[in-house]
Subunit: 131 residues, 2 copies
């Protein structure tokens, strides 16, 4: 099973200067990855430390099919590494690489941005999900 990530759009976003294309292209590469559903959530969750598959599924309330796919994608992109501890009671753990950990300030910035600018836009996330 191979996961492919296709770029989200053509290059010219704001700057039409070809010398600036790299900047826009960099942004597109990063944004294309981060805007994939669950990606930021998974990375955020892994900031706390290495985690197993089922634990990730439980935390994010993601179904296993999608989680497998996203983890493969993130591994291919070099954001995390999968370590198989034992094959047959399946016991795996996922851990961020340096690239993954480098996203920490960005994710924190998103959190503080939304606390400042998204106060009223409530989606009803926090309190009740488990009894």
């Amino acid at each position: 099973m191979s996961e492919e990530l296709e770029p989200i759009s053509n290059p010219e976003l704001g700057s039409h200067d070809p010398s600036q294309c790299d900047l826009a292209a960099d942004f597109i590469r990063g944004a294309s990855l981060l805007q994939e559903k669950w990606v930021m959530m998974i990375v955020y969750s892994l900031l706390a430390g290495p985690t197993g598959f089922s634990e990730l599924v439980r935390r994010g309330n993601v179904n296993t099919t999608t989680m497998t796919q996203r983890l493969n994608l993130l591994e291919a992109a070099g954001l995390l590494v999968k370590t198989v501890h034992s094959t047959m009671p399946p016991r795996t753990s996922y851990e961020l690489t340096e690239s993954g950990r480098a996203l920490k300030p960005i994710l924190e910035a998103i959190a503080s941005w939304s606390s400042e600018h998204l106060k009223d836009v409530n989606l009803g996330a926090c309190p009740p999900t488990e009894p």
Copy 2:
């Protein structure tokens, strides 16, 4: 037509401490919005200044249906304002609010992060899209 944004997951992402719930909840609110397809691209594009509908469609290579939906969502979230200049040669422009402009450092951080950590992961974005 009303756009609804539903939260992407349950709360406990890394911290199980209820006093930290707000931090995680803030992150989820922000990430749920930003990971919507095209959202970051649109904001990035609008950083250059107010832009019309068709221009945004051309820049991002997004189809009009999705663009309308995303713009409504972003307007509802308070990231941009729509200004109708004339009703009947339809001339509208979309402009970032302060909330939207506050995302600039975050988007720039994403660009520089991917230039440092995503070099090899090439998606074939930049050069050819239009003949």
